[in-house]
């Protein structure tokens, strides 16, 4: 019956328009903790394996079970993987939100839903596909305990039939998902196949959405930014990790634990070449990292906004006493607890200036999972080179969502351990060259002093005293005005050296562009798509993605060379826009416009397009 009705609707809805192939997004609405995650992954991977560029975003609540969750899979033959506002295919599994969910889709969308939800009446401009999921699961899954999860597999089958996802790829994805668990594969496959067959028998396709094999993902990987960053840390030879759980950063530490357990065990001794400690809070976490960095380890922590606030005092110590440390800030929506499971670039400004007193810090801002991997390594080199805390500013969208990427390159560059005198020999050589060892003396003009490590040399000259209070270049206590000034001026000089050492911004150009878009981090996906759309609409634009602070010269040049530059911030106050105003000449400040997105959802291309068009009064 259903099918007939549907066909009519399909006709009525008058959307016998052109097919939409490999360019729409699938929105799955479920309840948190209902185990839909594996189903969604399987859908996403199967599409990916069909060679279609894809991305998966999980919009989840700060709750463990019961509250609504949405998973969006975007397929894009052009390879755009940012969030997309309009929804092509909706799968309604959550009674709580079904009514609302249906309202959100575009006219002509396909809506798969649990029959009993009776959504048909709600709209007449979409394609409804009622499915008796709860009945089907009883037939398809015999073990009652498994049904709650298996029901989600049924919609995989239905979607596969409706959209033309190849069952072969679904099977591959399935067995990858449940690697080794034969039984699980078997049961879930039955459910998927059951859904597929039921759909084939009972549904008539009336919507325009279809997926077909192409060849744009060969050799690519899918990974989330936190796993990528963890991989980078493992490759960077991190030796001491202290962390305190907090969403969305926990998975970075937890992936790191498993990568290290697999790849950081000394083959000879069978012992770990790392120590990972769950601290009692973030003050302790950074404190441990400071102690370890001081003693010569490559040490790090990972946290999010509230943790950054708690790390403020220790960060000032690291800046002033010059101690290497790597801190990952996987940004979420603040201030305070805010929206712990939503994304934002809200800590850029406060982290750049973190600590009371005069202090500025090196920030690395990855714009892709690949950069999460690369900048993790870069961060340790910079922290040891500049003997200061370095922050890697990722965010929830980048860190916890699934992104396509080329396989990561094996690092060719050797570690940069910075100016460390590791042995009595090195210390003697240093003294021979510079007359003496003075912990905080700038012997070569770059603002960076040499350091020794506790316990590495028995030369009396090797020892020095570290303190957060005023000190001479010999690290002795001092309240002399000139000593303080000299130290602060050298730290400023060191920061200028860093300006030349941090990753340069990434520039993309379009012939004839007069306007530029300046952005950073996870905004890149939406911005590049926006540039594509803008060009189509006859407005070519260049883009510059800031990848680190302090701003390298290229940033200022980019602004100077465009009529108008739209600064894209995922926060309310235009934090990057503000930081630019602090460094640009007044003339160049006049070129800036600010586009701000701050509702907790990842940035989408439309927002950028609208911002630019508004500014250009198109």
């Amino acid at each position: 019956m259903a099918s007939v009705v549907l066909e009519e609707r399909g006709t009525q809805s008058g959307s016998r328009g052109p097919e939409v192939v490999n360019d729409f997004s699938i929105h799955v609405a479920t309840a948190n903790g209902s185990g839909s995650m594996s189903s969604n992954n399987i859908l996403m991977r199967a599409i990916f394996q069909m060679g279609i560029p894809v991305s998966g975003k999980n919009l989840f609540p700060s709750n463990i079970q019961g509250l609504p969750t949405w998973f969006t899979i975007r397929a894009s033959k052009e390879g755009f993987i940012a969030r997309r506002r309009d929804i092509g295919v909706l799968i309604c599994m959550n009674p709580e939100t079904a009514q609302e969910d249906v309202k959100t889709v575009n006219p002509g969308a396909a809506v798969i839903y649990e029959e009993s939800l009776n959504l048909r009446g709600t709209r007449d401009d979409v394609h409804f596909y009622p499915v008796p999921f709860s009945k089907l699961v009883l037939e398809l899954v015999h073990d009652g305990k498994l049904r709650r999860l298996a029901v989600n597999m049924i919609y995989v089958g239905v979607a596969a039939w409706l959209l033309g996802i190849e069952m072969e790829e679904i099977k591959k994805a399935l067995s990858k998902q449940f690697k080794g668990k034969e039984k699980a594969v078997e049961i879930n496959l039955a459910a998927i196949q059951g859904g597929f067959d039921w759909a084939a028998r009972n549904l008539v396709k009336s919507d325009p959405f279809r997926l077909e094999r192409m060849n744009a993902t060969a050799g690519k990987i899918i990974i989330d930014g936190n796993a990528a960053a963890a991989m980078g840390c493992a490759m960077a030879g991190v030796t001491v990790v202290a962390w305190y759980p907090i969403t969305p950063s926990s998975s970075l530490a937890e992936s790191l634990i498993s990568y290290c357990q697999q790849h950081r065990i000394d083959p000879q001794t069978g012992k770990p070449t790392f120590a990972i400690v769950q601290a009692e809070d973030e003050l302790a976490a950074l404190g441990m990292v400071m102690g370890a960095g001081w003693a010569g380890a490559r040490s790090m922590t990972a946290t999010s906004g509230p943790g950054i606030s708690l790390m403020s005092e220790f960060t000032g110590l690291g800046y002033y006493a010059e101690i290497p440390a790597v801190v990952f800030d996987i940004q979420r929506v603040g201030p305070s607890t805010g929206l712990p499971t939503r994304t934002m670039q809200g800590d850029i400004l406060s982290t750049y200036f973190l600590s009371h007193g005069d202090a500025k810090h090196i920030l690395l801002i990855p714009g892709s999972v690949t950069e999460c991997y690369l900048f993790a390594q870069e961060a340790f080199d910079l922290a040891e080179r500049f003997q200061t805390p370095v922050f890697v500013m990722s965010d929830l969208d980048l860190g916890m969502n699934n992104w396509m990427a080329d396989p990561f390159p094996y690092p060719e560059k050797p570690f940069d351990r910075g100016k460390v005198l590791r042995s009595s020999e090195e210390i003697k050589a240093h003294i021979a060259k510079f007359g003496e060892f003075a912990r905080y003396r700038d012997v070569d003009g770059d603002g960076i002093p040499y350091r020794t490590l506790p316990g590495f040399s028995d030369l009396p000259a090797a020892a020095y005293f570290t303190r957060g209070s005023g000190h001479t270049d010999h690290a002795t206590y001092s309240e002399r005005p000139q000593d303080y000034k000299d130290l602060m001026d050298r730290l400023a000089r060191k920061f200028e050296t860093a300006r030349r050492a941090v990753p340069k911004p990434e520039k993309r150009t379009t012939p004839g562009a007069r306007v530029g878009i300046l952005h950073y981090g996870s905004s890149d996906f939406a911005v590049q798509e926006a540039r594509h759309l803008l060009s189509r609409r006859g407005m070519p634009s260049d883009s510059l993605r800031v990848r680190a602070l302090p701003f390298p010269a290229e940033v200022l040049e980019f602004v100077a060379s465009h009529d108008r530059v739209y600064v894209v911030d995922q926060n309310r106050d235009g934090q990057m826009y503000d930081l630019l105003r602090l460094e640009l000449t007044p003339q160049d400040v006049a070129r800036l416009r600010s586009i701000r997105h701050y509702d907790g959802f990842p940035l989408d291309a439309e927002t950028v397009v609208e911002g630019v068009e508004a500014g250009e009064k198109v």
Binding site: G219, K220, I221, I222, M231, M235, G237, T239, V240, A242, Y259, Q262, H263, R264, D266, T269, K271, P272, T273, F274, A275, A279, E280, L283, A284, A285, L286, G287, M288, M290, G291, A292, G293, W294, A295, G296, A297, R298, S299, E313, F314, L317, P407, Y410, P411, F415, P454, G455, F456, S457, D458, P460, A462, A463, Y464, F465, T466, R467, G468, Y477
Partner: protein
């Protein structure tokens, strides 16, 4: 006992260093400050134990007490961290280099007030370090406000009386599983140096809560942390002897009146009981003793609890023998194959 070659040369310890080589900068504390006395005992203990000075890590927070790490063993590295958070920094240093001999010096404010949280977790983890609290019941460096160890009823010069119960850091430590817990008094140098040597010999957190009068702000009549009060009220529960592992002397002792405990490095600490058969290895007894002392407002000193066999945090992590800080790219960057494997799993 150091062998003296050249009669004019100063005596040296087993690693051939004189006590001078365990010294530090001149103290900038008030003349007579209890903390300076402790500094001298620490210097002496490291000298007598023949600890390699360059292996010593001196950790502290903020306070007059925390300043003292600059006044001993200046051939070791010192780290004057932030107020109340030194345990975390020390933990990190030990993770990076477990070969360090770490001593943390803190104050009652630094430990019991702002530092209570980190103190608790340092003890729970049993971080291998000596942790000395120079306890004067006040915040010396900020001019004498009460700390959380101020005794009930004690009075400041201003007349203010402490009406909250003091935190007993020894009881807390025992409760949290610390394996070496002592209370002493900076006026009792003989006991203090013995306890410090025992602390060096112990593996795990060794806690010394040392009453150390603040002559400027808390040494007056009516203070219960003054030299006078402490001298008059100190009741040592043992007479403490220490036999380092590197000295082969056999003195017989009467097990009835003396308890001998072998510490991690093989040294032995001998506790001649002054309190009828008190057993320093009995946790329940130790807690009971402190409770009784609190109720009677008795000032007991000595090795209150010792349990040398408890595993420290680093051994739980089964770290390699080479300190993590010494590992290089060679040992810590996974091979190309490892990356390939990770990539494979993500395809």
């Amino acid at each position: 006992m150091s062998s003296v070659a050249d009669p004019k040369a100063p005596p040296v310890n087993r690693v051939g260093l004189s006590v001078k080589e365990y010294g530090g900068l001149k103290s900038t504390l008030c003349t007579g400050c209890g903390h300076d006395v402790i500094t001298r005992q620490i210097t002496q203990a490291f000298y007598e134990m023949g600890v390699a000075p360059h292996k010593v890590a001196k950790m502290s927070g903020i306070g007059c007490s925390s300043k003292t790490t600059a006044y001993f063993v200046d051939r070791g590295h010192g780290f004057n961290a932030v107020h109340g958070r030194m345990p975390a920094v020390a933990t990190g240093a030990m993770l990076a280099n477990h070969g360090l001999v770490t001593i943390g010096v803190s104050g009652d404010g630094d430990t019991a007030s702002i530092g209570a949280g980190q103190f608790v977790h340092m003890l729970r983890r049993n971080i291998p370090m000596i942790y000395v609290i120079e306890n004067n019941g006040v915040y010396g460096l900020t001019k004498g406000q009460f700390s959380a160890t101020a005794d009930l009823g004690t009075r400041l010069k201003t007349g203010v009386v402490s009406d909250l119960p003091p935190i007993d850091l020894c009881a807390m430590a025992i409760e949290l599983g610390c394996g070496y817990v002592a209370r002493s008094f900076s006026g009792d140098m003989k006991q203090l140096v013995a306890l410090l040597k025992g602390a060096i010999a112990h593996r795990g957190t060794a806690l010394l809560d040392v009453i150390s009068p603040c002559v400027t702000f808390n040494n007056h009549e009516g203070s219960m942390k003054s030299y006078k009060w402490a001298k008059e009220h100190e009741i040592p529960i043992q007479e403490i002897g220490f036999v380092p592992y590197f000295e082969e002397i056999h003195v017989d002792y009467d097990p009835g009146t003396t308890q001998e405990v072998e510490l991690h490095d093989g040294s032995k600490i001998r506790l001649k009981k002054l309190r009828e058969d008190y057993d320093a290895t009995n946790k329940g007894g130790a807690l009971a003793l402190l409770l009784e002392a609190e109720q009677k407002q008795e000032f007991l000193t000595g090795l209150i609890y010792v349990e040398p066999s408890k595993k420290d945090f680093l051994s739980l992590l089964s770290l390699p023998d080479v300190p993590l800080a010494s590992l290089t790219e060679k040992e810590t960057r996974p091979p190309r194959e490892a990356l390939d494997k990770m990539m494979e799993e993500l395809r």
